[in-house]
């Protein structure tokens, strides 16, 4: 095979260009930190990368949902704690009122206190969180129980927060289950007790009703507590998921800077070798040796 001057020149040029091209690619990857400059660099990894990004964004949204839900449930938790105390106090007062040792003045004092407690209970039932009534989550009326003790919420409607692809957690409480509604509600019961105390009727008959209302409140409190711990577990799972998804995404998309740095160094050495060899090939000709 004849070697001609044009061949030598084009060979040296091509080698230098190939080295420079590879170095430029490494520099682009190193400075941007991304291995997948375009999807075609690695098509199957690109498809994976899109999926992982999708999942990561969804997990971040679930994190926000969980935080929002925790606010609701914390409000419900403290409210139900207060309600439990109030109903407990009402129970004690009813026992006291039903006792024969209480005088008429004593019964009047108990009636006044129970009346106050009923007002307080109604106020508690209309607790709001961020403008939403927690005991009638889907109602827009601003109160869960109106002054006539009717319930503003819709039966069977719940406020849910999505914490996973297929899992939601209910974050409101069913006011009708906690307090009853209308004439069967705890407020109406307290009104009856107050009226009976004032007319002198024995309120001991109402003790069973008060007990059943108390156990309803305790049941709902327990349910809310269980949901709260579900959310706490979900928080842990969620942050674990986010960390592992981010690691997966980085594994697919990002470059290993150390590897790039070493590779770049090797390519620079190769480039310098090409330059010096090219210089040695291109210079001497027969002309130098003939007189």
């Amino acid at each position: 095979m004849r070697i001609t001057n044009q061949m030598q020149a084009s060979f040296v040029t091509r080698s230098m260009q190939a080295n420079l091209a590879r170095m430029a690619e490494l520099q682009e990857q190193g400075t941007s930190g991304r291995r997948l400059v375009r999807a075609s660099t690695d098509p199957s990894s690109a498809a994976d990368a899109l999926l992982v990004r999708n999942q990561l964004a969804t997990e971040k949204q679930y994190e926000r949902n969980i935080a929002n839900g925790e606010g609701w449930l914390a409000t419900i938790d403290s409210t139900l704690g207060t309600v439990t105390d109030i109903v407990q106090r009402v129970r004690d007062l009813v026992i006291q009122g039903a006792s024969d040792t209480t005088s008429a003045d004593g019964r009047e004092a108990i009636a006044v206190e129970i009346d106050e407690l009923r007002t307080e209970l109604l106020r508690q039932s209309n607790t709001t969180y961020l403008g939403r009534t927690v005991f009638a989550g889907t109602s827009d009326e601003g109160v869960a129980f109106r002054d006539d003790y009717t319930f503003t919420g819709t039966a069977g409607a719940t406020v849910e927060r999505r914490i996973g692809i297929d899992s939601t957690v209910q974050v409101d409480a069913d006011g009708a289950a906690v307090f009853g509604q209308g004439p069967g509600s705890v407020f109406a019961l307290l009104d009856t007790v107050v009226a009976d105390l004032r007319t002198g009727t024995n309120v001991g008959n109402h003790l069973a009703a008060v007990d059943s209302r108390l156990s309803a409140v305790l049941t709902q409190h327990t349910v809310a507590g269980a949901r709260q711990s579900q959310l706490e577990r979900a928080t842990d799972t969620n942050s674990g998921n986010q960390v592992s998804l981010e690691a997966r995404r980085a594994g697919i998309e990002d470059v290993d800077i150390a590897e790039i740095a070493i590779d770049l160094q090797l390519k620079q050495v190769a480039y310098q070798a090409t330059l010096s060899i090219g210089a040695n090939i291109l210079q001497p000709t027969l002309m130098d040796f003939l007189r």
Partner: protein, 472 residues
């Protein structure tokens, strides 16, 4: 034989050596000329004169009559040259396709924080937030803004692809003009070469120029060349003659001026003298460009990318609208369409957000005024197996596979083309060392012939001036 005949022989030797040095000088001068093929003097020895009659017997020894310079040969190789043309044609084709795919992928910009899928994620997040706070104006406004963001990205992406189609078509028009110009030049050279060869002159440089032009035609349009006995070449495009001797047939670009019209009127190359007759290009830059401009059913790069945007727009609008229509706004009115399409435009370009007021965003389905269950369902479209996101990632993955295989093809074609060109250079380019040796050879031959001349001159001087003068 006469002594003066030896003078003639020496003179011819000088001429031959001088011609050799001449041609060597031509080669060295064109050391770096691209497309130059090295030349050599062809010389042959001249046979002695055949004698008639009695002279045959009087002089049994007859010498040759010197050297004759037959011509200057061009040391080319038809096979290597045609191989260079073939590889240049496939290199042109695959390089254009690879570039088209790469630029379309840059428009998509996936996977990154700036692609459409990132915008879609924000849109679904917006629906989550609306589901968490139904009836709140702020979150509803945010989701309407995110929707506008998605719509804008869709329109911008499709518009960018369409404008790349437009640029490709414009450069195809320029290429066709170039093909016609080069064909004209080849025809002119054909005429010159035929005339010069007919008169017996040297046509090597003209042939070199013509070869460069036919290689460039091969790279541009996949043209094939065949040589005729009279020294001209015929250039064929898809089996039909582009250049025939000194005449050319022009080609012209026909077809739709906009990307959306290619389904009914694809961009194609036609013969100018026979309207409607398409040219079946076999390779080259122009063929690559036309295949990138083709409609989606024929594998057109730009049209398939635009179809991906359209599919995404249709999928988003259909699925979101279906759920939104089942929901009620916080004021109790039914939801209606969330996205609408402008008539007469392709889906990705014509999609618009139909909801202008945050109060028109429907979130619930009757479980109380502040129910957010439908908004939750809409936000789950982001992770649905047949949702818009999976439609989009399937499209991106397909495009990535096609693009990477086109890039690989282009690399292979470049390697083949470089190898073929290198082989041609090896055979036909000038080597300075070789020419230097030839120079030395011809120089010696010249010196030798000059010596012979001097010797004969002295002989004749002896014969003419000193014969018959004894002792003087």
């Amino acid at each position: 034989m006469s002594s003066f005949a030896i003078l003639n022989t020496a003179r011819q030797g000088l001429n031959a050596a001088q011609a050799g040095i001449d041609v060597t000088g031509q080669n060295v001068a064109n050391l770096n000329t691209s497309g130059y093929t090295r030349q050599r003097v062809q010389q042959s020895s001249v046979a002695p004169l055949s004698e008639m009659g009695l002279a045959r017997f009087s002089q049994p020894v007859r010498n040759g009559q010197g050297v004759s310079v037959d011509g200057v040969a061009r040391l080319g190789n038809l096979f290597l040259e045609s191989r260079v043309r073939q590889t240049a044609s496939s290199e042109g084709y695959s390089a254009v396709r690879a570039t088209a795919f790469t630029s379309v992928e840059d428009v998509h910009g996936e996977p990154s924080d700036n692609g459409i899928s990132a915008t879609l994620q924000k849109f679904w997040s917006g629906w989550h937030d609306v589901s968490n706070s139904p009836g709140k104006e702020a979150q509803a406004r945010v989701v309407v803004e995110q929707a506008s963001g998605v719509v804008d990205r869709l329109a911008a992406g499709r518009g960018e692809v369409a404008s790349q189609w437009q640029q490709a078509r414009t450069s195809a028009v320029a290429l066709v003009a170039e093909v016609n110009t080069i064909a004209g030049k080849v025809a002119a050279l054909n005429a010159q070469i035929r005339d010069a060869a007919g008169q017996g002159g040297s046509v090597n440089e003209l042939v070199d120029h013509r070869n460069e032009l036919t290689t460039s035609l091969a790279q541009l349009a996949g043209a094939q060349t065949s040589s005729n006995p009279d020294g001209t070449v015929a250039v064929l495009l898809g089996g039909n003659l582009l250049v025939d001797g000194a005449t050319t047939n022009q080609v012209t670009l026909a077809g739709s001026q906009s990307m959306d019209g290619t389904t009914t009127d694809p961009v194609r190359l036609e013969w100018a003298h026979r309207a409607g007759a398409a040219v079946a290009l076999e390779g080259g830059d122009l063929a690559g460009r036309l295949s990138a401009l083709a409609p989606a059913s024929s594998g057109g790069v730009y049209t398939q990318a635009a179809a991906g945007y359209d599919a995404l727009a249709t999928s988003i609008a259909t699925q979101v609208n279906a759920l939104h229509a089942t929901a009620l706004t916080p004021s109790g009115a039914p939801g209606g369409n969330f996205f609408v399409f402008e008539a007469g435009k392709p889906p990705a370009a014509g999609i618009k957000v139909a909801v202008t007021d945050p109060g028109q965003v429907a979130v619930g389905a009757g479980g109380g005024a502040l129910d957010g269950s439908v908004a939750d369902k809409i936000s789950r479209l982001g992770v649905a197996p047949d949702g818009p996101d999976s439609v989009w990632s399937a499209h991106v993955a397909q495009l990535a596979v096609k693009s990477s295989s086109a890039t690989y093809d282009a690399k292979l074609a470049t390697i083949a083309s470089t190898a073929a060109f290198s082989d041609l250079l090896s055979h036909s380019a000038v080597s300075l060392d070789e020419e230097t040796v030839n120079l030395v050879q011809y120089q010696h031959a010249y010196q030798g012939a000059a010596r012979v001349l001097t010797a004969v001159d002295e002989m004749l001087d002896q014969l003419i001036n000193r014969t018959g003068r004894v002792g003087l």
